[in-house]
């Protein structure tokens, strides 16, 4: 097996635990989108074009309630703002790649692909085939998201909601965040972001998440000794 294939498979393997939680999330999205009257082709296309779970849920609800197009578009943009932070965070590791690679990896830059990829890069560093890890994590998530959306649309409201499989996603984030708390500035960045996110969770368009992340980053930078 080539180094590229090995790296790709390592990315898929790291993403697997998250897929346990993403699959039911996609099922529920597909089911609720079709229950809210979105045509199946539109619900499926949104999973491919927008490709961001939380934004898709909210957009489907807004469309269902007849919100103006500009409001739906603005909401998608604001809910997805955190991807700018992800982009900045992975950029130093992919900046030498050809534009074609960067273009595809950007498309695959979701919460779940970002989380496993950045932890991999920060712990193992960037290798000559490191971009294949990112591709493996992103592509396996993409495939799972499209399939689970389709299945949710087909099954409709017969999907059982009692199984708490969605909990696998925050559990994975817990496992991924612990090794990043390597010093006091990082731990305080996490703690302050977490507290603000809880207090600001009711703000519209999930803007509390963005506010919390920026505040946490600011706290970390203030506490970091100047070099």
């Amino acid at each position: 097996m080539t180094d590229s294939a090995r790296s790709f498979l390592a990315g898929v393997r790291s993403e697997l635990p998250l897929l346990i939680g993403v699959f039911p999330f996609g099922l529920i999205y597909g089911a609720s989108a079709s229950a809210s009257g979105l045509p199946p082709a539109v619900a499926q296309a949104m999973s491919a074009v927008v490709f961001a779970g939380a934004a898709q849920f909210i957009a489907a609800q807004l469309m269902h309630s007849g919100a103006p197009a500009a409001v739906v578009i603005l909401t998608i943009a604001v809910v997805n703002l955190r991807h700018v932070l992800y982009s900045a965070s992975v950029a130093p590791y992919v900046e030498r790649l050809p534009l074609r690679w960067r273009g595809w990896l950007a498309y695959l830059l979701t919460d779940e692909a970002y989380a496993v990829t950045i932890v991999h890069y920060e712990t193992s560093g960037m290798t000559p085939t490191g971009h294949w890890f990112f591709l493996g994590a992103g592509a396996s998530l993409w495939t799972t998201w499209q399939l689970s959306t389709a299945l949710g649309i087909i099954l409709g409201t017969t999907v059982p909601a009692a199984w708490p499989l969605d909990f696998a996603v925050p559990l994975t984030f817990i496992a991924l965040v612990m090794p990043t708390l390597i010093d006091r500035p990082a731990a305080m960045a996490a703690l302050s972001a977490g507290v603000i996110s809880m207090l600001a969770r009711a703000l519209p368009y999930q803007s509390g998440l963005m506010l919390a992340a920026l505040a946490g980053i600011g706290v970390g930078m203030i506490l970091e000794p100047a070099k």
Binding site: L85, S87, A212
Partner: protein, 104 residues
């Protein structure tokens, strides 16, 4: 406006945000202050996503023993800290959550 157009524009905006720094960082000299900020993105964002899901799973704060996700998540933090294993963390958290839901 056409529903397809709404999705297309929403998707293009999302893609533009995902591509933003991945595209520009290769062409611009990035100020040191931004580079210093980046290492705090994973701890800040991941914790900001997780904590409300543990402390307020149904939307409002719930610090009672009836909040199974808080108990299971708290145990998962310990397992993650001790084992550094994603799989062990998920298994521990899911098993505790399932056991609590069955028992109550």
């Amino acid at each position: 406006m056409n529903i397809w157009l709404v999705i297309l524009i929403g998707g293009l905006l999302t893609y533009a945000m995902r591509l933003s720094f991945i595209y520009f960082l290769a062409r611009l000299a990035v100020p040191g202050i931004l580079r210093r900020a980046l290492r705090f993105v994973p701890p800040a964002v991941l914790t900001a996503i997780v904590l409300p899901e543990l402390m307020a799973p149904a939307g409002s704060f719930d610090f009672s023993v009836g909040n199974h996700r808080l108990l299971a998540g708290g145990l998962a933090v310990l397992v993650a800290w001790r084992t550094k294993s994603v799989l062990a963390t998920i298994l521990a958290g899911m098993l505790v959550l399932a056991a609590l839901q069955l028992a109550m």
